[in-house]
């Protein structure tokens, strides 16, 4: 009885939260004007936005009487893979030097993406 009144409310709440954050992420993608800052918008929607959608989906399956926990797996995989994607996009930005470049690190000689082996430098100068 309680479940039937409160579950739909909880589902609506999580859907609204997810909607809000995915919407903000879309706005951010349009509004921000530089490769690196733009990267911030979608990685954030991937966590809280899609997370809330999936929680709403789990609750809905319980309400319908067919419990499903697949979504927890999706959340888990998403949390593991999203940072890797963001990291690779950031690395491409650094590699093509399409953003403001960072200062050299204070401890080591350079950042690993910018660390070109001597052989490659020779090949590049010959071309």
């Amino acid at each position: 009885m309680i479940a039937e009144t409160f579950l739909p409310l909880a589902i609506a709440f999580f859907l609204c939260v997810g909607l809000l954050f995915t919407f903000v992420a879309a706005i951010g993608l349009l509004k921000l004007n530089d490769g690196m800052t733009r990267l911030h918008a979608p990685t954030k929607a991937g966590t809280l936005g899609i997370g809330s959608f999936l929680i709403a989906s789990v609750l809905h399956s319980f309400l319908m009487g067919e419990p499903s926990m697949h979504e927890l797996l999706v959340i888990g995989f998403l949390f593991v893979t999203a940072p890797v994607t963001a990291n690779f996009i950031a690395k491409v930005n650094l590699h093509t030097r399409s953003c403001d470049m960072p200062d050299a690190p204070s401890v080591d000689t350079t950042w690993s993406t910018l660390d070109t082996p001597e052989v490659d430098k020779v090949i590049a100068s010959n071309e």
Binding site: I27, A82, D108, S112
Partner: protein
């Protein structure tokens, strides 16, 4: 004898547990048969792939890891709201994106990976690169008028806890 047998059966005990849980979640129903098959998968797959794995991390503390996970989830929610507010209200010209360098005290690759993942998942910061010898982490901050504060927060809030988990 028993110890070496256990070590052969479970080269990565946490991986075994993870495999069993993912199998049961994938099947989307819980029964004794599914549980047993999940355990079998959890034993066979780690043994089959053990030779390609690095050594298992030493001195991993599960309890501290759990409280760390809860802290990160809380931070994700709070920081998401904060960043949404920045995106919606702050004009681009007033935003101060910055590169932040974080000197690492962590040594193990697993711990550094976890730290980098945490930094990316919490809104406002994305981890971009490691230095060539792996002693510092390059982080991009969306809006950081004071990069040193971002560095100190990451070091005290996340890295200190990860040091406790992995040592």
């Amino acid at each position: 004898m028993l110890q070496s047998l256990l070590r052969w059966l479970f080269p990565h005990p946490l991986l075994t547990v993870l495999m069993a849980i993912s199998w049961i979640l994938l099947q989307n129903e819980f029964s004794a048969g599914m549980f047993v098959f999940g355990i079998i998968l959890g034993i066979v797959i780690p043994i089959g792939t053990a030779r390609w794995w690095p050594d298992r991390p030493q001195g991993f503390r599960g309890g501290k890891m759990l409280s760390y996970t809860l802290l990160v989830i809380y931070d994700i929610i709070v920081a998401n709201i904060h960043v949404a507010w920045i995106v919606l209200t702050k004009p681009n010209s007033k935003m101060k994106p910055a590169w932040v360098e974080i000197p690492l005290d962590l040594k193990t690759p697993e711990a550094i990976t976890l730290l980098a993942g945490t930094i990316t998942l919490t809104p406002g910061t994305v981890s971009a690169d490691l230095s060539d010898e792996g002693h510092s982490l390059l982080v991009h901050a969306l809006d950081a008028p004071d990069p040193a504060a971002v560095r100190d927060e990451i070091k005290t809030r996340y890295e200190r806890r990860l040091m406790e988990i992995f040592q």
